[in-house]
Symmetry: C2
Amino acid sequence: MAHLTDQEIAAQADIKPIEGIAEKAGIPHDALEMYGKYKAKVDIHKIEGNEKQSKVVLVSAMNPTPAGEGKSTCTVGLADAFNQLEKNVMVALREPSLGPVMGIKGGATGGGRAQVLPMEEINLHFNGDLHAITTANNALSAFIDNHIHHGNELNIDPRRITWKRVLDMNDRALRQVVVGLGGPTRGVPREDGFDITVASEIMAVLCLASDIIDLKKKLADIVIGYTYDREPVTVGQLEVQGALALLLKEAIKPNLVQTMEGTPALIHGGPFANIAHGCNSLIATNTARKLADIVVTECGFGSDLGGEKFMNIKARKGEFAPDAIVLVATIRALKMNGGVAKKDLGEANVDALKEGIANLEKHIENARKFGIEPVVALNDFVTDTDEERDFVLNWCKDQNVRVSLTKVWEKGGEGGKDLAEKVLEVLDEPQNFKHLYENELPIDQKIEKIVTEVYGGDGVIFTDKAKKQLAEIDRHGWGDFPVCMAKSQYSLSDDPTLLGRPTGFKVTVREVVAKAGAGFVVALTGDIMTMPGLPKVPSAVHMDVDADGNSKGLF
Amino acid sequence: MAHLTDQEIAAQADIKPIEGIAEKAGIPHDALEMYGKYKAKVDIHKIEGNEKQSKVVLVSAMNPTPAGEGKSTCTVGLADAFNQLEKNVMVALREPSLGPVMGIKGGATGGGRAQVLPMEEINLHFNGDLHAITTANNALSAFIDNHIHHGNELNIDPRRITWKRVLDMNDRALRQVVVGLGGPTRGVPREDGFDITVASEIMAVLCLASDIIDLKKKLADIVIGYTYDREPVTVGQLEVQGALALLLKEAIKPNLVQTMEGTPALIHGGPFANIAHGCNSLIATNTARKLADIVVTECGFGSDLGGEKFMNIKARKGEFAPDAIVLVATIRALKMNGGVAKKDLGEANVDALKEGIANLEKHIENARKFGIEPVVALNDFVTDTDEERDFVLNWCKDQNVRVSLTKVWEKGGEGGKDLAEKVLEVLDEPQNFKHLYENELPIDQKIEKIVTEVYGGDGVIFTDKAKKQLAEIDRHGWGDFPVCMAKSQYSLSDDPTLLGRPTGFKVTVREVVAKAGAGFVVALTGDIMTMPGLPKVPSAVHMDVDADGNSKGLF
């Protein structure tokens, strides 16, 4: 098996018709809309059940490294382990973005024996959700430019349009463009840029909406830019929220697929975890909560980034709480956090582990800060040594935190049973979930609280621009929104080179932007890339498809 | 019924589960990939049958006018009429483009009682085909810019990149743009532009491919631009034809839907009829030919444009011939061709009819030039008078051409039975199909032949630029390609204001561009718009969706 790619392992899996998976999940047949034999959209109006009786297990992680931690793999494997323990379980995941699939080895479908299927279709186009979001996003751009072209009744300042176009593509040449060139029949010239689709506010809105009516309301609230008088202009003023919601009427339905071991999985929505909140849709999570006793779900990057946003944005808007938190760590990532270069990770190095484990320590503290007891999942890797394993396991015992050596990549659910049992212990204990802040706290103090309590920093520096924006946000009545931090995923600080557990740092907030549709305020720190680029040799050159439609080169 | 919109009529229709439609069509159940309850993709490898025993009825038309002729409506109604006559019939249509749906009242799903269902899903996203084409097209653009960014090994001249980006959107501000701005991390600055997706060569390639292996070969042949030494650069040189084909592996499968009367319909592909060849996919037509005794299909605009290309491009590449041609005409369109303004079309005007009918006369001659006997379908409209109807019917008799007054909009298949019976007469007669030219004829002479014989012009003027391009096309070995004319649809000439049957005109060819992937040479005449714009009040502002996902504002 060591020589098989994830795609080859997936191709050998015994995939079952999705009707059977739906039946197992308790989804009535008439709620299914088939997309081929192995995927279906689910009509949520036909799902019954009480989501309040379900337990939510959130899979988060230490800070990620270029070595890869396998959070999706652990999420899938943990769900399969619950399945093997005969629990009524569902997994709720994010949808992969096509851009990175074409660019670098990647995908969000897990790996080894802990994958979701059909991996090719999930990695490519997947029921059209991201395409629908791309289309709605760019339709809005076309409506804006068209409005200006036809007389600009709303007095939109073309220099202050904040709404960007998007493509589900890694395309650096589109980061900064000028549109509307070529004379009066070709619109009004202005600067613009393309983000990757998952960075679109429409993705965030779709993931936070409770249903299509709520979606329409949130779409109407999106601010597309400002007038010459600096007043916000909304989608509602352009009167196109109905058309945008119509374009999203299928995309808002969660997608049912299966793990390699036949556990029902809902994969739906995938907002960028560094600029948006980085969790699968609220609709998918709530649908899973209605159907299953245990819902395993993940959030983007570490507990400082996706984890904090899960608690303060998604759980708040969804009015629910996680009942347990799993923190994925690997010995390789801990060693990198202890100063080892990627090329040296194959060598045993307990000293580096001792340094790097301070990173994990902070993530454990973070889970407890939200009132939830974590379980550390030490995701086993072939180069790990027994001495290294023992160090981490013993360290966890000293910290009084549950830990499990998981082998889900190699063994699937069987390799996650111990982890599942430890998570069950937490689920049996009462937890005391709390948000980090109340909505009423001013935005700058919310940011201050996140930086000092979750990142472990000393404070926040607001640029003059950010200060002006904070005042405007107050003036427009958006001060009650939760904050969505845009920060490097690699460090607890805003400096990606500060690994381990940095202290004595301040975080610089260079811009503060309200996303009135999604209902949060984005605080930008450092350089956050919203349109990735391709490497010199994109993975696309290794991709192929044969006469029978079998693909090659996906991972 | 006069007060119901097409969408309201469609919503009242008795739509049947697609499995039953497939069974009726003779499609085995395991060849079906469901997309919801009423749409399916068809695995063509599982379809058996002899396409040579099938008869193909091509629905073409007189030159279109802003009054609308109802060609799709007649195509659907004619198929339903055959169905009522208990013929084994299938209809093969083009997919609508989302851009115009958002912009102006429109859609390609027919009208009244002659529509294909489910109309909303066909008009919006329709199984993701156009999104897959958009994605493949823009992935190629990203690969090109990425290649240049990373050292430009192929020596591509950024000023001579002919490959444009696309969106399935009406967005005039994207017609001419500059990309790659913002410094070295944001690519190499260059001029670019966006076409609407249906104008992408990838759409043309998909529609002319016989299977996915042929698709990959055609994709590899696409020329994306030229080197600094003026040599063509192909997709094959970028080594991404496999990745592009992989992105299209679902889009290449034809889509099965149904008419309002339960006739099986394949809707697949929709290349622009003015810059590309304007017909549904060869795969869909050939699949329908394997399954049905009679296949009713359409082509874009009039017999001069889509009709000529159907004969000289699609039928040639597919090695088949149409067995009958229906020419759709309306009294309103004939009057407009006789000089009546749109606002005056409600008034009877036999004198204008007498003038305008010369347009129809030329289209009848054109069908006969290809060796196929036409049947005129006079598509009835509520403002037509008996005197006007009688004039057209009598005129056709004088011309010795079959004619039928069809009422498919009002009555569905019942209103097209007389037309169907007249088409059956033609199908019983031997036809003598011939292409207008052989592949070996030089490109300029092919164009000359189309202009003089099909348009009725006196000859062709080639600009200096076109002459240079013709020489280059010869040098690169593309001289054997058929020609794909890009011309105004409104006139037989290249001047959209010359209605009726103009004579004594010459056509100016301003550019000649080889599409080596699609395998044709595009001859550009006049101003051909490849990215439409939106009107001041786009139809999007009337669109909406309710809590149950029911839509409003589609037509």
